[in-house]
């Protein structure tokens, strides 16, 4: 098993890792335009109000430019990305207010300036209000993280939420369905539905947590694409979806033992067993 060394690495002069900061942003000499662009919004964070954050972002690189060996043309192109981000977000999100900024504008276009290590921010939007009023405490969390919005909902109502998202909020495209295994948690699995709305140009992740052995209702009736995606989740995690038309393994052969993407899945044991049975020798692994 390839265990990555953490402390023994000879070159990890990484000052920011204990604090959990994302980048070694301000620490270095900051000769690159990027580094200064990173630092200035964070330092200006407490003072600059939300709407002018993009301006700060746009300003920062051009201010830093004279120091670096950058042509004027480059400065304009560098400043350009921030400009259309806001207008693009406004029409695209439609009814959404400013907080629902478009994703690509990433860190800077967020209403709240980026803190030292991105923390999930509470996500306020009409959609959330509507959902909360309808489902109350079933919506456990609605947040954004680095500009990406997600909902954590109770597993009992996830089907209704998805149905609501599909038909009332027009999230007509189910990008992906996947799962994450946390063996130490009581509810071991996160099921993640990544949804996209062509109408709002918006992406939302709906997450729910279920225990091992718990079933979920299938989303095939909502999005046809869920068929194979759920089969893959079943294949890799052993999570069963009730009402799925054809729930069987998809990537692995039918007789496969175990579900490989569970954290407790023993790769080596599987390998050794296979070698023993099929080759009649002891695996050298």
């Amino acid at each position: 098993m390839p265990e990555e060394t953490k402390g023994t690495d000879p070159v990890s002069p990484e000052p920011s890792s204990p604090a959990g900061a994302p980048v070694a942003s301000g620490e270095g000499a900051g000769s690159g335009a990027k580094a200064s662009a990173e630092t200035s919004p964070s330092s200006a964070a407490p003072t600059v109000p939300a709407p002018s954050a993009p301006a700060a972002k746009a300003e920062a690189p051009s201010a830093a430019k004279p120091a670096g060996p950058v042509k004027p043309a480059a400065a304009t192109t560098a400043a350009k990305p921030a400009e259309p981000a806001k207008p693009a977000a406004a029409p695209a999100t439609g009814e959404k207010p400013a907080p629902a900024a478009a994703k690509p504008a990433a860190p800077a276009a967020k209403p709240a300036p980026k803190p030292e290590g991105p923390k999930p921010e509470p996500w306020e939007a009409d959609l959330i209000t509507r959902l909360r009023s309808q489902y109350g405490s079933g919506i456990k969390e609605a947040s954004t993280y680095v500009g990406q919005k997600y909902l954590v909902v109770d597993s009992s109502i996830v089907y209704e939420i998805l149905l609501h998202m599909r038909h009332d909020e027009l999230f007509d495209y189910c990008v992906d369905i996947t799962a994450v295994h946390y063996p130490k948690r009581e509810a071991q699995f996160d099921i993640v539905y990544i949804l996209y709305s062509f109408h709002h140009n918006q992406r939302v992740r709906v997450k729910t947590q279920i225990k091992d052995g718990e079933h979920l209702r299938t989303a095939v009736e909502i999005w046809e694409t869920a068929n194979w995606l759920e089969r893959e989740v079943f294949d890799m995690f052993g999570i069963e979806f009730d009402g799925h038309p054809d729930l069987k393994r998809i990537l692995l052969p039918d007789g496969w033992k175990g579900h490989p993407l569970r954290k407790d899945y023993p790769i080596l044991q599987q390998d050794q067993e296979w070698v023993r049975i099929n080759l009649g020798i002891e695996s050298g692994q």
Partner: protein, 381 residues
Amino acid sequence: MSERTDYLDLDTKDETFLDATELVLNMGPQHPSTHGVLRVILKLDGEKVLGTECVIGYLHRGVEKIAENRTYAMFNPYVDRMDYVAAVSNGLGYCEAVEKLLNVEAPPRAQYIRVILTELCRIASHQVWLGTHALDIGAITPLFYCFRDREEVLKIFEKYCGARLTTHAFRIGGCIYEAYEGFEQDCKKFCDAFLPKLDEYEELLTTNRIWVERTKGVGILNPEDCIALGVTGPVLRASGVKWDLRKAQPYESYKDFDFEIPTGLNGDTYDRYLVRIEEMRQAVRIIRQAVDGLPQGPIMAKVPKVIKPPVGEVYHSIEAPKGELGYFIVSDASTQPYRIRVRPPSFVNLQALDKMVRGLLVADVVAVIGTLDIVLGEVDR
């Protein structure tokens, strides 16, 4: 397409296998035109397809499990092996997703280089598609012309990053390789030489009556079906949905460039062909702009040597040549990703096969598999 429902349902399995009116044909996993190791079980009435079932997984390598046992930087070369005809795009998506998790952004010059290489890669990928698709439909010659011109792209890749197919061109935080001397000229030369070649492909196919007959009205997907099936990329656009992640949610420096999103009207194989051909032209346009506006500056953002993103999860997707390629990464603040989920466009697009081929003939199945532009390395991961 409403009349499709009256065909036999695939789910009534075993008893019909012996039914004399039906022929069960096992296409693949070793078949000349299943593009690798796809196995399609066809249920036929004569030559008419009553239903299909895809059996995939022959090329499953457990990429997502491998990712959990590698550091972020180490996993980078593996993503090239998923969609191996568009390795650069895969690398781009992965690097961007990790960058998002780290909250860094590649410097402008790196972004431009990335865009140039990704668009070159789009051309290369579409050329492989065109060649194999034409080969499936029986035109054997375009394949060689396509591969000849793809060679020029691969040469640029090799000069830039030292590998032709599994390029490992980008690193988290930017690019590690500076554009080599003559990079701009090479790209421009390629663009200039490529457009006439593209016209040549079109001369061989676009107006050819056999090609038109073979592709028009074959494998129609209407926009609603596309969206319900999660189909993305050229297949979606050929159905008339003008949706391209490069425009819808621009990443890298795509906002700086002026290009069109070609769309089709009928959502048939011919439209998908035209859309992809036009996409190659647009890619040339983007490359030209990017090469002209290539800024100076650093190519690598400040990224720690040992990448240890904060706890969090992020989904980032790009417009790969085949559709929306997404990476969902969960970090637990260790050096290894807690979970990486790849949202492969080929896998999702392949799901549409059944809907597209019902009621068509065996020969159309081959055409439709070709037009979906699947790469089994990505379907099976």
